[in-house]
Amino acid sequence: MTPGRVSAALKLADFASHFFGVPAEEILRFVEERRDNGRARSAPHQAYCWQDDVLEQEIPRGASVLDLGCGTGELLARLIERRGVRGQGVELSSGAVAECVARGVPVIQSDLDEGLKGFPDGSFDFVVLEETLQTLRRPLGILREMLRVGKRGAVSFPNFAFWKVWVDFAVGGRMPVTGSLPYQWHDSPNIHLFTYGDFADWAESSEVSLSKVFVRSGEEVRPFEEGDDFRGEEMLVFVEKKQLRE
């Protein structure tokens, strides 16, 4: 980084601090870290899945749960074991499906972009979509399907308005790489990145209400607060269809 860029970064940190409500020192620390470590994946992807902890608390005992893009079936195995849910997964990757089978998690190997053909209306209490929406070719299609098949949905996603994304892009002039977006532009599965605001707009225009929103910011997980549209790195949103007034 040239001296000129550094001084620009200082100004940016000051501005961003006001704009995002994040201490300027924290922003500078991030900028310096990026300068020292280059664009190495300095912030590794979280090994633990905070969303799973929240879901385990929020999903009632004995509920039926459909997990879309269930990966290796960790969440479902946990919910089946600890919450006695009726679980069903859908996953495309062969390797992940094999692990689901090894865990004893029922799973259908299928492409979510093909929709949820085969699942009847309202057949699950919860439909979970963890960190998958931004990888789909037709994200709105699956959201509609989700609320057709499920009474409630739980969607988690990396928030593209997170301040580190913004600062990394502004300072580096490269596609942002962060803990929850650990990919380079060419190897990213994330083809439809969006922000919390985008999601809320979709909900508003689709007669969908956000009944609960959880935010992860650094190590902290909390219910959504004012300003979290920029401070939240990842979101977990519970959605349901608005009751139509008579």
Binding site: R86, Q109, G118
Partner: protein, 399 residues
């Protein structure tokens, strides 16, 4: 007593391997009588039925560890281990049972834990009553007077055998291809008797293309000069017709890609070219398959069993609607397809799993990538076993 004959250790292992079901001996059971005949779905009557079956492992005191394994079109009850009486069926000398890679001590269907049963189907030619058996009314082989049989008949007869063995409930029914369809039928016909169904390379019915292949196979047999209306048991059998049927069927068991890799366009160098002998390697392979099949299979059985395969349609249990039919199933279901299988293609298998999901059943569907086509369920024992083992071991999701 099992006559242990010498059988060389080879690439298929040997009966002394700790993971082998060892030397096996087929059992026979006589059922039904003149007064109480077995009545087939089409109304045919068999005054006596003999069933050949094999078992591996021990039935637990609570009788809850039985796993029924279902064989496919040309299969038999000899699913695992080495036939102690291979002298009577010489083609078994150098090969263990057809699913030996899956069944045995410590294998995916672990005989230290499960009591495994495999029965030869009605109409076959491997010990269970079929067209080659003597009709007690005439003392001569039934031939084409044998009643037409269905997958439903097979499953009903298997249930009767289990009654006799004192097995009320099955831990699982597992099969591939036509055996997979028997597993589906078990779940539909006896939902209260089966806890898990494993369906490999099989769908609720055969496609029009599949029906067409079977039709050509039967055409070859029916038009062989030796066929003589099926009454060929006192003379030369319709071997060329049966061999042609087998060669055709064998093409449907392999994938285009697999065939290319295995044989390509290679010509045999050991025979003269420029004529109509088996010059290409793929030609020679198929004619070998055809020849060896006629030594071990009965042409009439081929007609009856392919007909049963044609007729099978699981959706009939739901008035033509597969989803309605699936509502009957109470078991957890595992469906496995193979991406190069064009006899029971992945889409048909996936649709079956979706129908089960529609009825809120606990279902696992996996599409394995394999170059082996339809045959993959027999060849890919390691990967198939990797799916079957946890499926058989896990607690039931829906109980």
């Amino acid at each position: 007593m099992v006559v242990v004959m010498e059988s060389g250790r080879n690439r298929y292992g040997s009966p002394e391997d700790p993971s082998s079901a060892g030397w096996t001996e087929a059992k026979r059971m006589r059922l039904f009588s003149e007064e109480e005949p077995f009545v087939t779905e089409f109304g045919g009557r068999l005054p006596g039925v003999e069933v050949e079956y094999e078992t591996y492992g021990e039935l637990s005191p609570g009788r809850e560890n039985a796993v029924l394994v279902e064989h496919a079109l040309s299969g038999d009850a000899h699913a695992a281990g080495w036939d102690g009486k291979w002298g009577e069926r010489p083609w078994r000398e150098r090969k263990p049972g057809w699913w030996d890679g899956i069944i045995g001590p410590g294998k995916a269907i672990d005989t230290r834990r499960f009591f495994v049963i495999c029965q030869n189907v009605l109409g076959s030619c491997y010990g269970t009553t079929g067209p080659r058996s003597a009709d007690p009314a005439t003392g001569k082989p039934y031939a084409l007077s044998f009643p037409v049989v269905t997958v439903g008949d097979w499953v009903r007869l298997q249930a009767k055998v289990l009654d006799e063995l004192g097995i009320e409930r099955l831990h699982a029914v597992v099969g591939g291809s036509l055996g997979g369809q028997q597993a589906i039928e078990w779940g539909l016909a006896f939902p209260e008797r089966v806890e898990r169904i494993g369906v490999l390379a099989a769908a609720p019915n055969l496609s029009a293309q599949g029906l067409a292949f079977n039709a050509v196979g039967r055409h070859c047999i029916l038009n062989d000069a030796n066929f003589r209306g099926g009454d060929y048991y006192d003379g030369a059998p319709p071997s060329s017709g049966l061999a042609a049927a087998r060669m055709l069927a064998h093409i449907t068991y392999l994938s285009e890609d697999g065939m290319d890799k295995k044989f390509g366009r290679r010509l045999r160098s050991d025979i003269e070219h420029g004529g109509f002998g088996a010059e290409f390697e793929v030609e020679s392979y198929l004619s070998h398959q055809g020849r060896s099949f006629v030594d071990r299979f009965d042409a009439n059985s081929y007609l009856y069993i392919t007909r049963a395969m044609d007729y099978y349609d699981a959706s009939r249990r739901g008035g033509g609607d597969i989803v309605e039919a699936c509502r009957r199933i109470d078991a957890d279901v595992l469906v496995v397809s193979f991406d190069t299988d064009w006899l029971y293609p992945p889409e048909a298998c996936r649709n079956f799993s979706r129908a089960l999901a529609m009825c809120r059943k606990s279902v696992t569907y996996v599409d394995l990538s394999s170059p082996y086509g339809h045959d993959a369920f027999l060849v890919e024992t390691e990967r198939v076993g990797g799916l079957l083992r946890p499926f058989l071991e896990k607690r039931r999701a829906s109980s």
